[in-house]
Symmetry: C3
Subunit: 482 residues, 3 copies
């Protein structure tokens, strides 16, 4: 399958073979750069960098990459104030204009799912440079490239993820990729900043893999006396922006074991700009610092990685350690983004095998797309932020599996377990069946997909003219429900 | 006449032949782009984009155009905070510095007339990319190009202007151009957002043309129940920023007839950032939406145009209609701005006939330029905003026509009808004539132009040592005045 | 000595021969530009412009220069909001990332000494485009080039510095350079805005030169009635941000004599954004204006210079005078910055003699660098602003000269005269000598440099376990001290 004309919104858009093709080409680009070769693959092409959030690394390395490919850049560095967004223009309109001015669009946006909307509306390649707390796939490509460069492989590596595993979009993209490549993932989340349930479930259901999680008590004792300090500010995080009703069933591992096994520790800062915390809260109060004392507990060759920028969670004293590769990670951004840009623009051609079901996106789901009924539960999802032209679009998980109905937003991957369903079949202007049912009932299998309406509450169902079903309906899993 | 070295501040700076030359060259550029030809006409040249207001389309397409011409761009995308304007530097100083760094300057500024000041002080070509509520001539070039591409001609077309015809700078530039090319202009202004009187008068006096205006009652009934809602927020607009004492004498047309006749409807958003409305007022409350229902009242082939960005006045459901050309309008920005840039930089040469009086600018007026006396009545005019180095400069209309004295600001085109005049002739340190007269009196013809002083009020005249004339002075139009 | 790979943080980084080499190459660049020659010395190279403060001139001319050299630019025009600095990233981290994306970094920052930190951490050339109130060496290169172009020489010229000589970073860089090239410097500071003591002392001690200063009474009478007005707002400036305990021993000169002698007057605006003045104070109230009346007191050929932007201190009526060269100064920014960039990137090679002691930087000082003890007294110094990874680093002046101990911050050049010293020599876990002494005592010569600790107060010394020495210790200059 060719890359030309495609988008990169989620790391799951690429198969493993495709990811490896990007890494290989990046390696060639890197060698060519080092030899001082002129690489003019994209001469005459324009890249638009549309950044609604601050950036040094990502925008800088994309612009460098485009220059090194012989192309030019049109920069919207602070798009929130600089562009027509200041006049209320939607993402869809902005990219439909920009597609005439640029051959490829790189977008960063504070809303989850914004990059997907851009990709849907622009008919030039769109690269997600970070969308809210959702994903940041090109960072993941840099991370994978760094691991492969330093360790020679991905399969079988053990990577310990450390810090804010909830709001860090780089973590979400990385965890999917590591699982797929057969790396072992250990999670050491700060209290209240666990990997979101939907991310775990997705890995579990689609790769049959489950990361191990450091015992909370171990984390607490490690962080020691500062703990009490840091718990407080993160309390509000528990009011789950993500729907994690599916509480994480990760096997536990001791901190000692985790540190002993890790080939790399991936440190992250607390994403203070995300979630519902007031922006002016002092954030790094009790954040435990990874420093030289901490490092002494790791294997000698354990890599220290960080997507940067850091605040206080990673000590400056580690900067000159040979295993500290975070500035290298940033530097690899140039060959990686050169390779990706050249591929999507069709300036480099690599044929990879057709998709084989290895990619998450391959798992086909029924779509639920209705103007009435449930909406994505994530207030920061682009489908809620720009609801005047976007219709909610949700994947139906477990539809035929005899389990609960779970909906996953195609924009932001947030999930929900809506309580009621009904049929919208009309006959001569009259609803054929005015009842609504539990979403756990067997009626889920009876209603034809194109007629299915799903409700978030009884009130909403009633507002649309449905009444509760009076008879008891068999549950799909055998029990009874109203 | 050659284009090299000239400015484009107002669409009236170009004759019809010149506009057609730009459109023709744009057409060639467009073909060359489509063939993938390298057009390196401006290699080694720099364009400075100096934007004191947000922009996606205009800046993006100018930068794309310059790249496609082989040139480079120095971007001041949010000049208000990024440049020395933050330290209080004037427009004149900024452009006198930038002229050494760039071969051509593109400026957008919130003050009416700012582009003219830039053009006056920079000795490189200056292009107006929008100055306050005044003009936006390159948008007009895109609009004309779109009309010509889609309809094959301009002469004889009927264009219905819809929405905010008062503050929309794109509308003002367009209406001049359409009138000149012999198109028929129909106006459907929202209540309180009529075409400013001076614009109408200018078209009337210089082209002997008057647009037709949809009957207010028709507009009201069309907008229906939302009307009451939308009238309220716009009330303040009636406190005319523009001096429209010359109330519009447009012939009226029914909405039904207007919709039936229109070859194109040009929809505009309410310019909520202009005028004296508080910025945080909810703006689009009652704005009527042009949607598919609305469209059904138009001819099948009526084009739907919009300068973008839109808010709620144009429904997303129209985006895929074959007659919706607004994204095409935006796309044409590239070839149009390529052609214009190449011409002004002298990289392309097209000889057009010398001016023949067809252009508005050809009509010669006496200038009034005095440190004392009247100033431009528009508080947002650059001559008032940067009065510490700019002297008011006003065209005297009707000077010899036996009618009222009307002054028109050369920066922002606002007009006034000042009540008093006097002579500043001095003899041996003493004013020869200490009287001031009605500006409608025949004294207007008696006082030599170089001595004429014009006052906005009796108080001002008296402050400068003049006393009211006691005898009755014959009016120019035959009546009496004091 | 070659330029390739070096930084330009302070004008004193270059010897006179090196400065002349830059000016000569700029002259060649200027000629080549005028002939329309293509100069592709830096093809394939990227310049990052990292501006944490607004700029038109400096960023614009650097970007133009890079384009004219055939290179490309990655622009962080409003780095404070656009880059990761918005997420709390330090200067050191930002430049260690950017060095992978750019071949040369141009930085402007509001903190004194920020450019030095950037130069210390990036391993690509760093150019200081203005750091707080500290230096702006490329402006000085433009100023010197202008003087040489217009007057044919630097040696023996008399330059009158006018205005804010305290916070104007361009003035500090210029005054060093003029003194070194043997020009005569006259200072006409506004009240409270004198040249900082350390700058004067440095010139005096290292070049044995002392500028003359216009008598304060003369300045007052010249400024006349506005004086009372302007004194008030500047009062707070006397609360010396700079440590000017070494009150300026400049010889005085009458204003009449100063104006008669000046070959150039260098006018500056009040740097209202610096110092401790509230940002919203109306600033230019009583600032005396250099206008045509003022000019009549100067020699006919006295150049009028200004680094721009101006506010009200320089009248627009002078703009067309043949001796007004301020726009020319700005225009020279292009060839100067081309020459500098080409040299530091190693694209042009000029060999200059090895340093011979002519440069200020040649004077070797002992360094004081301790985690405990004194810190730089300047709150705006980068060593205080980013103290979590920067250790104070101070030059010890007069160490062996038998005079007072003076420390000068290597980042921002601020000075201090700390009162106490002690020895940190330990023996088997016990301090060998638990006493602290006056810094003026002969103990300063006794304590070995590597053991020396310097304290800002007795309290601080005691907090670290030291007690006052009870016996009287001989002062270095012969007297007694405790």
């Amino acid at each position: 399958m060719t890359f030309a004309g495609r988008d990169l919104v989620s790391i799951t858009d690429f198969t493993n073979e495709e990811i490896e093709a990007v890494l290989d080409l990046a390696n060639q680009m890197d060698s060519a750069l080092k030899k001082g070769m002129e690489i003019e693959l994209c001469k005459g092409k324009d890249m638009a960098t549309l950044f609604y959030e601050p950036s040094t690394r990502t925008r800088g390395s994309f612009e460098r990459a485009m220059h090194k490919l012989g192309g030019t850049v049109i920069s919207f560095a602070e798009a929130k104030v600089m562009s027509s967004a200041a006049k209320g223009e939607t993402i869809a309109d902005t990219v439909r204009v920009l597609r005439s001015y640029a051959d490829i669009i790189v977008i960063r946006h504070p809303w989850d799912g914004a990059a997907k909307v851009a990709a849907d509306y622009a008919d030039v390649p769109v690269i997600n440079a970070g969308d809210g707390s959702h994903e940041h796939p090109t960072q993941t490509l840099c991370d994978l490239y760094t691991l492969k460069k330093e360790k020679g492989r991905l399969k079988g590596l053990t990577v310990l993820l450390w810090g804010d595993l909830k709001y860090g979009r780089t973590v979400h993209s990385l965890i999917y990729a590591l699982a797929r490549f057969g790396a072992e993932v250990l999670c050491a989340p700060l209290q209240g900043l666990d990997v979101p349930g939907p991310v775990l479930r997705r890995i579990h259901s689609e790769y049959n893999y489950m990361p191990e999680r450091v015992k909370p008590d171990d984390m607490t004792s490690m962080i020691g006396e500062v703990d009490a300090f840091y718990i407080a500010p993160f309390k509000p995080y528990n009011l789950a922006l993500w729907s994690d009703f599916d509480s994480s069933p990760c096997p536990e591992i001791s901190i000692r074991e985790a540190l002993r096994k890790a080939d790399a520790i991936y440190v992250t800062r607390v994403q203070t700009e995300r979630g519902d915390r007031p922006a002016d809260t002092e954030s790094d109060g009790g954040y435990p610092t990874v420093d030289s004392k901490f490092l002494s507990q790791l294997k000698k060759k354990t890599l220290v990685m960080h997507p940067l920028p850091r605040t206080n969670e990673l000590a400056y004293e580690l900067d000159d350690y040979p295993t500290s590769v975070y500035f290298q990670q940033a530097a690899y951004g140039v060959p990686i983004r050169m390779a990706l840009t050249a591929l999507l623009l069709g300036a480099s051609n690599i044929e990879t095998p057709e998709r084989t079901g290895v990619s998450l996106s391959d798992t086909a789901y029924d779509n639920y797309k209705q103007v009435i009924g449930v909406k994505c539960p994530n207030a920061n999802c682009v489908s809620n932020r720009e609801s005047h032209y976007l219709v909610p679009k949700l994947n139906m998980l477990k539809r035929n599996g005899g389990e609960s109905l779970i909906l996953r937003c195609v924009y932001c991957d947030h999930e929900m377990h809506p309580p009621y369903i009904a049929s919208s079949e009309w006959h001569q202007g009259i609803l054929k069946n005015k009842k609504y049912y539990s979403s756990d009932s067997f009626m889920l299998d009876r209603i034809r997909p194109e007629n299915l309406i799903i409700f978030d509450s009884a009130k909403e169902a009633q507002a649309h003219g449905f009444m509760p079903s009076k008879r008891t309906v068999k549950q799909r899993n055998g029990g009874d429900a109203t």
